[in-house]
Amino acid sequence: MTETIDRLIQARFEAVASPVDGRDWNDVLARAASAKQRRAPVRLALAAAVLVIGATVTAAAFGWPGTLVDFFKAPPAPESVKAFFHGHNAAVPGGVSPWTKLGQAHEIMTATFDANNLPPEHPILHTLYVAQRNGGGFCFLWTGFGGSCADPEDAAKATTTDPAARPLGLESLENDYTGFVDGWIRTDARTVEARFADGTTAQIPVTWVSAPIDAGFFAYVVPSAHLTRADALTSVVALDANGGVVGRQTFALTKPLDEDVMQTLPDGRKLSLPRRAQAARAREIVKSGPAYLWVMPRTGGGSCYLYGTGVGGGGFACVSPYWAARLPAINGGGANGMYFAQVKPSIATIELHFRNGDRERLTPVDGFVLHKIESGTPLVAAVGLDRSGKVIFRQNLRFHAITR
């Protein structure tokens, strides 16, 4: 008996667990090799002009194309930035050796980009600060965007699919395709090149920073002519003096459907939703005061819905045909005086039953109900009736205790 219950409960859990497979062992290896800290999850951006700050000399004198910043002569970082770097230092997770002590921090360059929109809408000025780590390597921060720490030795040892190349310390901002990349390279590289799906390339300007940093930094806006599948950025490579590839980072042209991207609803509202949810084709089937319910097609079949109660509640979900077949006839619940349910086509009417005997009938719209509870007593059940008025499903709601 216990085993039967165990199997039945297991089946219920398996029916709701996500089957999406996001395995990426190379990402695990890269994280392990670089011990790199995560950035704030900013997703969309585009950059523009880069301005180098501080004492610079022509890097060509050192054999590097680009600009060289003398680290110790560059303007010192303000206290707030130093505090960020020290906070970053303290955030090293348990079980991992902490970063070595941070040394000086200086302002290196500025760049203008929009960290929130693609295409850019409100580009602002961001400043790059770099801090020395006394044990080697460095930490860096783009204000208003994010920062990271880098151990060049570890990065050099990291493995990639190309044994001749190591991954670059890149962060990218993407919607459908990569719109902005920033990163750093070591001094064994000479140039950085953007490569596009249409076979064209572009050189990315690098600002070199002298010892003890000994690295080049760049921030690159992908031109607007390279934001479609046919011409999108496919890789950024670092080349040595002989043109040999010493570093490479590739960008996938096929993006995971379940990855959140900024989308726009037909009413112009922008929000982050999985790529799979076709927000541009959404229909608003409930709009009652501050409450709303949008339903949109789901790539691969089924539908996605987005609702808000206007009183702090709401939700978003995508329901594949597989899930839809396994949902109860009324899959409902809610809070804060609102009742929400997804119902099967066999349910023509939902009758809400309240503890004091009150009843309220609702008609689903396109398989959904979003309704403000008017009764002052708790909702105890949602009963499904077919077209002839016959009760065909009952969901007791003792544990939801929804009241006005």
Partner: protein
């Protein structure tokens, strides 16, 4: 050490989805859970020489992944696993099951998630949470009874 690293990779390739789904209630979302699994396995790789061989490798990696999920979710405080309050991710998929699970005390809820979302045997759950296997068995027996009763009352039979 290389042997341990190879075993960690094998574990990742074979059990990624179970890890991601099992840690999602602690991380708060599937996206955050993916990040915790990636970061947790990276930490396990870096610390693979610290694996003593006492207890299963999977239990050891689970501890790291769970701790990573907690750290990523609450970076400003050190939260012991005992205090974690796991939530049902995407409750819209099954409101009745969500309500039934949320009615359980947090600690029991976590064990239920590890058992049914991550498909972990009792021994691995015990290792992951550093508790006795008997405690896991007793807790799950109580939780199963409660779940069955609640789902029955909800009118949606398990």
């Amino acid at each position: 050490m290389e042997e341990t690293a190879a075993s960690i990779e094998r574990l990742y390739r074979e059990r990624y989805i179970r890890f991601r789904n099992g840690v999602a209630p602690v991380a708060g979302s599937y996206e955050a859970a993916h990040d915790a699994v990636q970061e947790g396995f990276a930490r396990a790789l870096r610390a693979s020489r610290q694996y003593s061989g006492r207890g299963s490798l999977e239990g050891w990696v689970w501890r790291i992944v769970l701790r990573t999920a907690l750290e990523l979710r609450r970076p400003d405080e050190e939260l012991p696993l005992d205090d974690v309050d796991p939530v049902f991710v995407e409750p819209e998929r099954d409101f009745a099951l969500t309500a039934a699970v949320q009615a359980l005390p947090p600690r029991r809820r976590l064990i239920v998630f590890l058992r049914y979302f991550a498909d972990l045997p009792y021994q691995t759950i015990a290792e992951a949470l550093a508790i006795g296997e008997g405690t896991v068995a007793a807790t799950l027996a109580q939780a199963k009874e409660a779940l069955a009763a609640i789902l029955d009352e909800e009118g949606v039979r398990p």
